[in-house]
Symmetry: C2
Subunit: 129 residues, 2 copies
Amino acid sequence: MIATRTTRQRDVIAHVLEGAEGPLAVNDVHGRALSDLPGLGIATVYRTLKLLTEQGRIHPVTLDGETLYEASGKGHHHHFSCTRCGRVFTLHTCPVALPRGTVYPGGFIVEAHEVTLYGQCPQCAAAPA
Amino acid sequence: MIATRTTRQRDVIAHVLEGAEGPLAVNDVHGRALSDLPGLGIATVYRTLKLLTEQGRIHPVTLDGETLYEASGKGHHHHFSCTRCGRVFTLHTCPVALPRGTVYPGGFIVEAHEVTLYGQCPQCAAAPA
DNA sequence: GTTTCTGCAAAAAGTTTGCAGATTC
DNA sequence: GAATCTGCAAACTTTTTGCAGAAAC
């Protein structure tokens, strides 16, 4: 069995994701981690994101063709993508009632669902067009 | 103004997407188009998908990290991704009531929404585990 | 006949892998 | 001290671009 070690790189990357307001792209993770750890290589970011995903501490979210990562354990939630600033936010209110096992019209058995809302975030909505 | 011409490649690619049961990956589009048009280059597929997208005849859908394309004009719909066979189906029943302009908790102004359901398609549900 | 397209090959962009030195246990 | 990481550079994969010949108008 291969042991996995605690390193500053892994701590910083996990911390960046845990403190984020929503899921982040690989580049954002790298950028934010660089302030705490100048010199951090992008390859390490990829390797660590993969490791943390295998450990279940984070998980990938695909949005608009990009793969983003977010910390796990935030409970059932969805995402809001701002069409003006491009930021992605986490929403804790769920707009659908589809418990596991629901049979959807057509005979599809639902095990899970994902919802993404698009529009203007509070900041952009308040800013002049 | 740049004129855009009608070519066999564009017809075939548009036709492949219009006849598909759900959104297709670039490779699937290429593969299916090849039977009608041996020798079709992948670069042409990329260029044509981009052109058709700009014309609004098709649009991209991102699912599980892959970019798929589907014909437009199918009305409001969502997708069901089968966790067993991996196929993606189009659903015409919408499980959410979020008209444009709805203000979501937190002050997010909703312009559009996307829903993806995961589970077992009718065929897989009927097949033995 | 002129302009726009296509296929090929080269170039970019994004992600993964091999390796030697650094770090953790 | 031994095993596991990290950064760098090279290798891959996926998507885009340049160009000369082919096709559309």
